[in-house]
Amino acid sequence: MSPRSSRIRNIFEPLDKSLIAKLWQDRFGIPEQAFSGCKFFRKARSIWVISDVDLPRLSYETIGMRIMSCKDRPWKPTTSALQVFGRYAAKNLIHLNREEAMIFLEGSSQGIESDCEPGYVVVFYRGDVLGCGLYSHGKLISQIPKERRMASTVESETCPD
């Protein structure tokens, strides 16, 4: 596809930071300062975050990192975004032990006791944010994307570089 046709398809609209910060504050208790030096864009039903710079007038495929999807309710944070911003979370987080962490990293579901509100949670193991989980009725469902799971990992440098 040529850049001309992708320009029609890709419309990144700037978004007010406080709007996004409030969502993350409400769900995870992450303070707005965690996003200082960042700005936000929306494309279709995804929200993107990038360092606070002026972007030259170009046709973009991506702008920074996709941090959340608003396709369904509730909105869903990406694992990548939680690995960057999730360490500031003060609520709706779950700490796993080694065995549980391995199950989570393989992309599987498991029973976990937690007082989290139902919905998306930040999953930790020994201080590391592993990524996004969905917590419901005592069950933690891993939301780790397939290519980042423990069993299916491939070396990242497979192309000539």
Binding site: M1, P3, S6, G37, C38, V49, I50, S51, V53, L55, P56, R57, L58, S59, Y60, E61, T62, I63, G64, M65, R66, T78, S80, Q83, V84, L105, D128, V129, L130, E147, R148, R149, M150, T153, V154, E155, S156, E157, T158, C159, P160, D161
Partner: protein, 298 residues
């Protein structure tokens, strides 16, 4: 392997150069300081029983004595990135600073893009350009895993990348990859002078556009992982032409031995300044092979 004979006159200790092609390259990785401090990462590897050795020339580069480093939790979490040793050189020569505007014209799979982003501490802007849709996916995935949030991806043909005035531009050009034989045996069997000359047309187009897109005072780094002068010195000479607007700066990474770029090929005299560019050979540092040129726009 006979194809390499054409480099007999320009490669020092040619027999050792030829012999090392059969030895596989060790695994290596770069510590991603966007997500973890070096000392914390080293501590984790030690705890996990992973044997490693820091590069003598780059404290963030590690030789890993492990079969599948991609499966390490540290890789999944983006604390390290599996990257060939010499692939870490071009960003260091480019020397991007936090807050600058940088273009990586041939970006996928993003090893150098993310190294640039890390050197800029996630501040400023990196435009990572990659025309192939199939190759955007690993680029994006690596940027996200490594937490590089100052990167925006475009998909132009690099020769026609339309506009911008960048502080620094990296042209890590598509090439015949002769220097990758130790990673993927068989690379050399696909090489030919004709192929190098075909790639040269593209490489000159990319470098000329990169020079156009750079601010006065800015830096362009041209790199390949091949030995063919047709894809290296001859590209730089042709793209710079007679213009006094550009000058070559000496490429030198303390602790890593380079050979000077050649100034004669097939009986033809080349620009003397090309000796400022650097050739990295596998038998000299026990690495792959690379070529790097640093150009300053006056």
């Amino acid at each position: 392997m006979d194809y390499l004979d054409r480099y007999r006159e320009i490669v020092p200790d040619y027999d050792a150069f030829q012999a090392i092609q059969c030895l596989p390259l060790y695994n290596s990785a770069r510590i991603n300081t966007l997500k973890i401090k070096r000392e914390n990462l080293l501590e984790r590897l030690e705890e996990g029983g992973v044997l490693f050795q820091s590069f003598p020339w780059y404290p963030l580069g590690l030789k890993l004595d492990i079969e599948s480093p991609g499966k390490l939790l540290e890789n999944l979490l983006g604390y390290i990135h599996i990257q060939e040793e010499l692939s870490m050189v071009p960003p260091l020569v480019l020397d991007p600073q936090p807050g600058e505007s940088v273009l990586d014209l041939c970006a996928s799979p993003g090893s150098k893009t993310t190294e640039i982003s890390q050197m800029m501490e996630n501040r400023g802007l990196v435009i990572a350009n990659e025309p192939s849709l199939a190759r955007v996916s690993p680029l994006r995935s690596n940027c996200e895993r490594l937490g590089a949030i100052n990167v925006a991806i475009t998909r132009y043909d690099g020769r026609n990348f339309p506009r911008g005035l960048f502080d620094r531009v990296l042209v890590d050009a598509p090439c015949s990859s002769e220097g990758r034989e130790r990673r993927g045996p068989g690379v050399l069997s696909r090489c030919s002078t004709e192929r190098s000359l075909d790639l040269q047309v593209l490489q000159i187009g990319l470098l000329k556009n990169a020079l156009r897109l750079t601010k006065p005072g800015g830096v362009v780094v041209y790199s390949t992982c091949t030995y063919a002068p047709e894809e290296n010195e001859l590209v730089v000479q042709e793209a710079l032409g007679e213009a006094e607007e550009f000058r070559l700066e000496k490429v030198c990474i303390p602790g890593l031995l380079e050979c000077p770029g050649i100034t004669e090929w097939n009986g033809k005299r080349l620009n003397d300044d090309l000796s400022c560019t650097a050739r990295y050979y596998p038998h000299i540092n026990d690495t792959g092979g690379f070529y790097v040129a640093k150009i300053i726009k006056n």
